[in-house]
Every structure is written in C-alpha cells, then in structure tokens.
Symmetry: D2
Subunit: 413 residues, 4 copies
C-alpha cells in the first residue's frame, strides 16, 4: 500500500504543476479579490500542509525548509501558530515563484523518502488527507485564476479548448423519488472528510428532481422575464446582494451589442445556450428556482437520488474547463450528477448529528466553517476526477459566484 | 367570536401603549443602530399594518389617514409599494409622537367599527395575524429601547423592578430523550405563523438536554477560563465577529473595578450569578457549548422535548423585564422552557418541507428571511404571555445580541 | 460696560431660544449627519461654554450643574477633558429638552449675578468670546435643522416667509482693484477671533471682482451646459466627490417634472432665478468659476475690496432665512458683500503670519482646524447681524454644502 | 540641440531601467496600496506618455503599439480618453514584464528616429516635459517599491548600501532672513513645470530657518516626550489620522526590544540618530514643529532662503537611497537644502497668482490637483540629480508618508 500511496502522492503533486504550465510568472503573484489566493500561494500552502502535518510528525528531528514559510503559508490553523493575513497574500513577491517550486521539490523529495519506507496507518491517513486537500486547491487554483484573468481587459486565454457539437439539449424531465426513512453520509472504508460523517438516518418526504442541470438558455429566459428586477423572486439578503453588487447576469457574462458573451478559461465566447449555466450564486439559483415554481433540492434528497450512479462527467482532466451540454437522448435516469457544475442545495452547511471534528489542528479543517454557508454537491469541470463522491459536501457563502456553481431543480412530489 | 376579537384587539393595542408610559417624547424618536427602530416608528408601523391589510380590504372606499404614511411606515413589503429606508427611520421627527398616537387612535376607532360588525373568517385570520405582529413589535420596542438607553452615559432607568431572593440555583441535570421518528411543526387550529407549518416528520437520534438555562455565573467561568481569547472554541465567523466588535462579555455587561455590572431596563446593577445569562449572540452560545463539551439543541430536539409543558415563565406582564433565576428544588422535568430568554438552537432558519408562503404581500412576512439566520425558541421576559408556543420559531442573525437571547445545553445521548 | 455686557448676554441667549420657537420636541433630538448636531446639543453646548470658561473660573467654589454634562457637552476641547463622541450626539435622549432648557436658565441666572457685579477686562473678553461663539451656533442650528427637515419626505416648514418682488437682477459688472502692498487682518479694539489676527502685509496683483453674487439662474446655465458632466471643469478631488455623492445640482435642489425646486426653511418652492445660488460646495463654486473663464477671489482680495463697506444684508433677524436677489439699479459699487451667502474664496484656511493661538483650552478654538478647509467670507442670511465684519474668516471643508455658501467671481486684471 | 535632446532621452530612459535591475519579475506586478503603482505600470505609463504626447502628434500616421495600452496606461488624462482604474493596476498580469520592456524599446526606437531628424521647439518642449515626467516616476518607482518590500515579513533587500561615518551631527543653528517684498517662482529659460510659474511678488515678514534638517535622534526625543500621545500638539485632522492609522513612529520604524529599527531599501537596520528623520507625514512634521516651539517654513520663505545655493545632496545616483547625516563642521550657511528629504512646508498647494494651466490634455498635469495637498521642497535621496531646483514644487496630501519626506524648522524672527 505504501508504494501505491507514494505513487499517488507523486501523481497528485505533478497534476498541480501541470495546471501551472500555461502561466506566466506574473500570473502567479496577484490576488484579485480577498476570497481568492495567488497561484504561488496555493503551490506553497499545499506544500506547507505536508511539511506541517506529515514531515514534522514522522521525520525525526525534522527541520522546516524555512521558518518564515511556517507563518506565510499557514492558511487558518490557529493551533499551528500565527498566520500571514489572508487578504494580504497578494502583497508578497518573495519567495519568488522559482523559490516556491524549489520548496515544493524539496518537500516532495523528503516525502518520497518517507513514503518509500514502511508507513503506518495513521501516516497513510494524513497523507491521504493532504492529497485530497491538494485536489481541492487544484480546483481553487483554476477558479481563482479565472477570476484574475477576467479582470484584465485583454481577456487572456488560459488554455484553448475544442468546439462543441450542434445538437440541442432536450426539455428536462422530472424524476420521482419516494422518500421515507433513509441514510446519508459515510461510515465506509474509503477516504471521506470529517464533515461527511457519521452516516445517519433522515426522513424524506417524497420529491422529484430534474433529470439534468439548468441550461444557460433557460437562465436567459429568467433574465428576459425580469428575473433580476423582481424582488418577490428573491430572498431578502439575496436582493440586497444583487443591488449592492449590481448583478444583472451570471458572473463572467457580458452583453456585447445584443449578444451575451462569457469569459471562460479558453477566452471570451458567445454563451452556448445548451450548456449548464454556471457561476451563479445561491441567491440566483434560489430565485431562479422560485421563478420556475420549483425549489432547490436538500442535500439529503440529492445524495439519496445519486447514490449508486457512476461518477462520470467533464472533470478537470477532460481539459474543457467548462461544463458540457448533455445531448444524450431522453428518457434516461438522472444525468449530469457529477463533474459539470457544483449544484447548490437549499441546505445550510451544518454538522451531521453525532459529528466530531478530529482532534488537534486538523480539527480546524471543516467544523469551524459551519455557519452562513450552503452545501454544494457533485463536483465540477474543474474538479479532479476521483475527488468527489455521492457523500461529498462542498460549501460556500450564498453570494459566492466564482466557483463553477450551477442549478438542479427539485419539487415536492 | 367577533366580539372576542374586538376585545383582544383593544387589549393588545392598549398593551403597546402601556409599554410607552415611562417614556419621554425624546425617547420615541432616536434609532440607536440600523437593526433597531424608534418607538415612534413601531407605534406607527403596527397601525399601518391594520390600515393596509385590514381596513383597505374590508372597508369599502377606505381612504388612508395619510398617503405619506403608506410609504413612511411600510417596513419591507415590496408588493405594497415603496418603503422609506430602514436605516433612516431615525431621521424623521415628523409626524410627531402626538400625531402618531392620533394616527393609532383613528385607526383603532375604524377597526372597532369594523370588528363590531359581523366578520368573516378571512378577516378574523388577518386581524389575528396583525395582533401577533403587534406582539412581536412589543418585544422589539423593549429591546430597541434598552439598546438606546444603554448608549447614554446617564444610564436612564426605564422601569424600576423588585428585588431577588437569596437562594442559589442548583447544579443543572441532563434529561434524556429517546429520539426516533417524530413530528414537529403545526397543522392545528390555533394561530400559528406560516413558518411553523406544515407539521412534518423528522428523525431524531437519542439526545439529552440540560434541565435549566445556563446562568450568568456559569458564563463567567467561561470568561475566566479565557473563553473570549481562545479561537479553538469559536466558529471561524464567530471569532471574526468577536475580534471586529471587541466582545469581551455579553452585551450590556461592563466591568467596574473587579465587579461585572449589567445594564437592565431597571438601570445598571451587579450581575446576579443565578440568573440566566442573556444578550449573547449565537456565536457566544455556540462557543460556550463547545467549552462545556456540549452543543446547542436542534430546533427539532427542543420542540420534541418541550411539547406538552405548560407555557409559564416571566414574560413581559410580570414586569421584571429580566430573566429570573429558577430556584425551585430539583429534580423535576425541563424548566425555564418559556418566557425567560430566547434559546439559541443550532438550526439555521430554513423552510420546513412542504412550506408554502401565503400568497400576496403577507407572503413577505417570513419566507424571504430564511437565510443566514438561526432559530431561537421559547420566548423571553419581554415577550407577551400567550404569544409563544412549542412550535414558535424566532430567528436572528448569529451576531445579534440585543434580544433577550440565552443558552440551553444539549448533548448526544 | 458691565451692564452693557449683561444686557448683550441676555439678548444673545434669548435670540438662541427664539430660533427654537417653531420646533417640536422631536426636532431637537435627531442628528441627521455626522457634521450636524441636534438642536438640543447646541443649546446645551453653548451653555457648557459659559459654565466651563466663565463660571468655573470667576465664581469661587463653583459647582457645575451636572458632572455628566461636562463630558456630554464638551465639543472638542481636549484640555478640558473627555468628550462624548461627536457622531453619537444623536443617541442621547436624556437630558430631555426640558432639562436642557432648565440647564440654560440656571446658568443664565448665575451669569447674570456674575455680570451684575464688577467685572474685569479678562472676564469681559471671555464672555464676549462666548457670545460670539453662541452666535456661530445660532447659524449652525439653522443649517443643521434645514438639513434635518429636508430628509423628511413630508418637507416640514420651519417658518413661513414672505413673497418676492417681480423685478429682475441686472447683468453683473466687473469692478477693478489696483492691488499692491496692502494689509489684511485685525489688530483693532473690537472683538475679533484669534484667526483674524495679526494684521499683516500682503502683496496683491491687480484684480477685478464681480459687483454682485452669482445667481441661481446663472448656475442653471452651468448645469444646462453639462457642468456636472465635464471633468475638465473640476478639480480632481471635486470630480471624485461629485461622482461619489451623485451631485447634479446644489444641495436641496430637486427637479420635479421640468422645473427645479429647492427646499428652504419656508418649505419647498420653485427656484427663483434672481436669487444668489446657495448650498454649493467649494468644488462646485470652483468649477463654476472655471466654466465662467473666471476664478474665485483670494481672501486677501475679498477683504481688500470690501473694507469700508457698510455691513448690510439679509441676516437672520430679517426672517427671510434665504438670500435675497439684489434688484437695485446698476452701476454701483460692490454689492451683496455681507449677510446673503458665505462666499467661497480660493484660499485654504491657514494661520496668518505671526499667528499665535491663545494659551489654554481656548487655544483649541481655531488653530487646530487649519488643514484641508477653505475660507469663506461675508456672512449669510442665517448669520446674526453684527456678528460678521470685513476681517471675519469662516471655514469649511471643500465638499461641505449644508451652509448657506455661494459664489462671487474674480479675475486677474 | 536635437542631438543633445536625443542623448538625454536615451540616458533618462536607461536610468529608469537601471532602477529595475535588482528586481525579480514578481516584484514588478504588485500594487501594495492604492496610492502606489506596480513597477510594471510605471515602465509602461512613462512610455505611453511619449507615445501619446509626442509620437501621435509628430509622427505622420502614427499607429500605437497597442490600442489596449492606450487605456491601460493612461493615468488620469480625461481629455485623452478612458482610464483603467488606478486602484486596480495591480490586477493586471498581462502584458507581461517582458512585453512591457518590448513596448518601451519599440517606442524608444521610434523616438530616436524622430529626435534624430530636425526638431522644432514645441517638440523639444514636450519631450523635455516627458523626461521630467519620467524622472518623477523614477522616484515613485523607488518609494512604491520600498513600501511593497516592507510589507513582506522576509524584509527583502533592494540594494545593499555602504556604511556610515562615526562622527556626530552638531546642534542646529538658526539662520536669519530679513523678509520684505521679494519674488518667487520661475519665468526663466530652463525647464520648469507650469505650477512653478509665473514668477510673482510676495511679501515676507522676517524669519529664521534651521541650518539643517531635523534628525532621527531629535524626532526620537519627541516620541519619548509623548509626542504621539498629546493631542494638543496636533492638528485636529492629524490627530484623527494618527488614531485611525495607529501611528507611533515614522513609517518603516519598528521597535525590536528596546531599539528602533527602520526598513530601508538596503534592508532593515538600527535607526541612525544623526540621519535626517524621514517618512513622516505633514501632520507629524507639524506636530514636531509645535513641540519644538517652532513652525514649518512657508514655501516662499524656503525658496527665498535657498535661492542661489548649489544643488548638492545625496540624490538617487549616489546609490545610498537613504538621506545622509550632515557632519560638516558648523557654522556655515543653510545645509541639506537639496537631495536628502523632501521638506514639508506649511503652504497648501495652490495656484500662483496669474497661473494658467497649459491648454489641452497636458493642462491636466498639475492644476487639477491643487486641493488638500501641501507643498514639499528640495528633492530627496531618491530624486534624480538635476531634476530639482529652488522653484520646484512637489505636493502630497498631509497624511502621505511613503515618500522620503522630512522636516526643516522655521520661526518668526
């Protein structure tokens, strides 16, 4: 098992660097908004994670590569020590990008040595957590970068991507689920985050789910019908956000003449009406659902419905870096469950009954963020394949739009 | 029934004015923070409610007392029309307090006429809603006023209240509940708000609840143990609020020399260690629970546990305007369930499965606020007796402290 | 002289209360913006001034009416002690208006006793300063109140005022001044503020001044010519203020249909094109001057030009509370020099060469505000007659608009 | 003359790039505060200046290197067109640093061609302005960079600089000046900015000036005497800034243990007590002067006093990048007049009598900034030698500290 882990370690770390290939040195440095981080910081922080939680613990007399990095690249672990302020990550121009890569490679070397030797189960578990953590940052690197590039009037291209087919998507269908007493969450063997545990019983009333995601074309109808001008469709806080932030369409959409364009990691292009709408906030998703005389699913409904489906979708390795239209013929079962856009649920992010955060600093990973956020499910076109599963809980504040977040509709049966 | 309703109408309206008796004209005018409203505004807004939702609908050719009041005293009903901005309510010095009372009395007169005649069921239902609404504002009048008076270095007294007994409260006990599939919410005959409906099934794991509320003395131990200095006890957002707002103790507590004092509606006095702690935010309640190796109850657990208990407590009519220590001898059942302090639950304020807001403007009463707020249960010493019940859901953002909000502990069984 | 002073003391204090006659209790309490103060506060602060600087010093064993008032009504005198925060003056509802009047009358009684006895020169000087100070607050009471009432959609009337004649003003004329070495400032016997001293020499190049003030009609041409849309007419900071604060016209102007109305202390009415434009910031005055191919006068030019003119104008006692059109036939000399609107000069507010602030707390009266403000000259329709003179220097930040501030044009000869 | 100009053009442009030699690519990109700009932007903007004001006008059919750069690198010239927002300059990672250098070199090539041909006087004048403009940006590049590097806990070194001698500075002496009617400003032949013109008469009362700059040691006495804790020493706005921004010492000073250190472009080192104090705001300079029972000079006094002195000092070419202690033996005349620190004057930045901004876009260079800023004189250790002169007027808001700004004392005679 240790060899397997060493291999997966190397593969995951390489994957992170592969995402950096299209970048210029300048692109690594800037923090375009407080929620986002410079690529340079992601590269260093994921390395710091292994240094802090693995090497410092399992390598006898381990000396960190740099004392300063211990502070600079700690994200939010108060138990570990002081942190450089999050909103100022973009002020740092040193260590340089080159030095950050050297830091990565030094730590990778030491990790290889460690993982080459016999490993115990606890070590494997923490390394696994570190790899999952790195995969989360792989996705953030892309979404943070997309936001950064979109601020530049030159609209730089990250990676060119291919063309789309000319078929249209079909009208969506409602799929029925009977509800009743069921279980969600994980107690199983494979890796899961603490927030997915423990598996527990919930009671569900019967419900229906749309068999596919909401498309850009459907969202355009909402806009055309005054969706952004009618307060009765919105939550009170949502309407306030919309007014303050001047939302008129999903993030990255811009009207040029009569045509909506959107900025993608492949540059700006005309909005494809068949693709899933993305970069919408919870507030927009919720308002769209109300306008549709529907609602968003709860996370329990969603999990119940997708359990057993294969984990297939665009995912980051596909290289499109944009959600794909589903043009397969209907009827079928639930489609686009994974790997296109994160699907907002109506469930606030709360601890499961019986939830216990891990002891020690790793207990700060999830639990302390369980307030004023909503759960998203399913993974996106920027998520590494194999990173998500039916029980996976992502979470963001209801006004966040820079993730690949989209909409699936639900209704009471 | 109509006569009964007319009588209850008169009684509730009188009760509002009774709360104003200790006030100077100046006290009616000021808005001490954006969340609070001037007393003058509460008096006018509750009147506007009856004018808008009852008289305009059931009195043929009704002409409003003033067109300007239609805008000035609309709180947040977009379907009704424009609203004077909430944060500017304190800029209005006209209509004067005297004119506002005249407005009330004119509307009261017309309501009496209307309710004196035969009434239909729909009218009764809306009047009932208006009375419940007025009771909610009675409590807000007191909490807003308390906040206002506390800003004045002269520390004015609203109403003197009596002395306390010298007995001490006993150590709290854990009460066990078996859980299982149960129902919460209301489908019954009596008045309930839309957010309490529909009654629906939930599954509860076994749990325990403390038999009484957390006391000021217990909270002081939390402070003494560095509770406000240890980030590991807090939610991440809670810690940020604490740092930004410089919280070191509950709202209204002030250390003079070595002794903690608190501002009450009866003036400033030494903190009574036996009384329930109050004016704490969700964040403080949650941190206190973690420090106690416990947690807050969910709203379903709370409702399940109190169902069937008598609705007894301090309530506003008692005149103490401060929660009372429970010095009854143990053991007994669950105590202080109602009418002392609103009890924070760990449940975000969300729609119940199958929830439908009423149609029309009254649909704006509850549903649109279901985001980034937490449910509180049980009513307080500022709540009118008879206003709360086991299914009643109050809600405030997690950093709100100016309500009479307190803590009951829970644990997994 | 003492009797004379006692009489003037009584007269000035009465005048302050006369300004309050049209007010409701509610109007005394509210602070409509941080720069303004509640009327209640003005009444108490001017009283505090006599208590602090006169009674405490000349009455043996003087005991203040209230210790709390020493803090509550200190404006900005650090040498005297702590101050209640300026921006929170509107949070105080106690002492009540009635109690504040009682405070005034108690202090007035003690002052009368003191002034009735023999007085020394230093005492007279400080009392005189207190009276001048009170006159400044009389003007602020009106401008603060005007701002407050204008925030109310009911547009309350402070005092009705009379009608205007139907003659038109004539085109203005340029008056020439030769310049050279001259003196400004005061060394004389009558009362002057420290900031008017010492008299000193300045060198002036030849210049011309407009013989009357800029009218509302002329300002309307500036608006019609895109004055608020053309950045090249504005100072950089001025343009930024205009953009941030959404200025499109002078404060209190509102377009109803095609007609400009303005809110006055006599209620809202159609803008009279012949009256001096007022409630413009330095930025607007400066932009208007540039648009007119002219400039604002320096304070030295202004003072040089008006020296020797009679102190005549509308002033507060006239009761119009609005600047009057000058319809006297031309040519004549310089008109509207005093008592209509404060005239912005291009001179930043700086110490005169050789300026020395008084020693002690009264040294905080003027000197510490000499930064980022501009000098205004001439007094306004809200200024007490006899309060201004040729050497008088008023000062406000360049974005202030709530004073009766207007424009006189100048040019290089 | 054209050849001479071409040579000076080449030399000045090279000098800018020489300042970049110690930088990593990452250092060019970040904007550490809204007032500062990324080095990348300075390099591009100074190039844009020549493209816009020279090549576009004198090269027939000139096509700009990039249309996008016309917007991206316009600082504040509304007459030229739209500008990328100043506060967002740090969001741009493209064009890359390499591309910006290519932009420079392309424009340099075209400028060489143009300047190689016969030039007219107007062209020479605009090129001269462009070179002076570039020199101003050379200084800003250093001060912006210093601020950026100081934000990094690693405290990176820009360039190592040499050691200091061990002599001490002598006590300063007061030099007397008779005053009277004199002239300041420029009408001469050499290059001057519009804001230095026209030469005009001013009347000065007799005054004295300190013969050298205030030292760090003297400023330390001010700190030790509670200078940062005593509001009576400060302007009211200055005290508010100090409180808001938590000033306790000059910018870049940090106490480690008992010893004050300061961050310099050569890294952090112990404060040298003999060196001129620098990185103080106008507010600190003014408070220091008051504490010293002195005042700051007016700009007319300063100019009168230094006229005729040689332009000697540290200047940027000296390479120390820090002001030098003056250890020459006294008595002598006025010392440290130029090239150490910019000396705050008490003069607000206003137009000289008869000032006319140039017509066209270049009129936006100076005039529109004449509000709420103070004049500084003399140049600094980061100023190019030959850039300053006796009539040169620099200007910054009174709270600016990131320039090399210091203090010379004055007094009435």
């Amino acid at each position: 098992m240790a060899e397997n882990l060493a291999e997966r370690f190397a593969q995951t770390r390489r994957q992170t660097e592969w995402l950096c290939e299209p970048l210029e040195t300048e692109d690594y440095v800037v923090q375009a908004m407080p929620d986002a981080s410079p690529t340079r910081w992601h590269l260093a922080h994921t390395t710091w994670f292994f240094e802090t939680f693995v090497l410092s613990r399992w390598q006898p007399n381990y000396r960190p590569v740099s004392d300063a990095y211990q502070v600079l690249f700690n994200s939010y672990y108060n138990s570990i020590g002081e942190q450089f302020p999050r909103a100022h990550r973009g002020l740092l121009t040193r260590p340089t990008v080159k030095e950050v890569f050297e830091y990565r490679h030094t730590v990778d070397g030491r990790m290889c040595e460690l993982l080459g030797a016999a490993t115990d189960e606890e070590l494997s578990r923490v390394v696994e957590l570190g790899l999952q953590h790195e995969q989360q940052h792989q996705e953030l690197m892309l979404t943070d970068l997309k936001y950064l590039l979109s601020c530049n009037p030159l609209l730089p291209v990250y990676r060119q991507s291919g063309r789309r087919s000319r078929l249209s998507v079909e009208q969506f269908r409602w799929l029925k689920f009977g509800g009743g007493l069921t279980s969600i969450g994980s107690d199983g063997d494979g890796f899961t985050f603490d927030n997915e545990r423990p598996r527990h019983q919930v009671y569900l009333a019967p419900f229906v789910l749309a068999d596919r995601l909401v498309t850009a074309g459907e969202f355009l109808e909402f806009i055309a019908d005054g969706g952004y001008e009618r307060p009765e469709l919105w939550l009170s806080l949502g309407w306030a956000s919309k007014q303050d932030l001047l939302w008129q369409a999903p993030l990255y959409w811009r009207k040029r003449g009569d045509t909506w364009h959107e900025f993608t990691l492949g540059g700006e292009r005309v909005v494809d009406l068949d693709e899933p709408v993305t970069h919408v906030s919870y507030f927009e998703a919720e308002a769209f659902a109300r306008w549709s005389a529907a609602r968003l699913p709860t996370e329990a409904e969603w999990e119940h419905a997708v359990t057993g489906l294969p984990i297939a979708g665009s995912f980051v390795e596909g290289g499109a870096l944009h959600p794909a239209a589903d043009k397969s013929p209907a009827p079928g079962g639930l489609r686009q469950a994974f790997g296109e856009v994160w699907q907002w649920t109506q469930s606030p992010y709360t601890p499961y009954p019986g939830y216990r955060p891990p002891s020690g600093a790793l207990g700060e990973y999830n639990g302390k963020f369980m307030c004023n956020q909503y759960v998203l499910r399913g993974g996106s076109c920027a998520t590494p394949r194999g990173h998500v599963r039916a029980t996976y809980r992502n979470f963001f504040p209801p006004d966040a739009r820079w993730q690949f977040s989209g909409i699936r509709l639900a209704r009471d049966a």
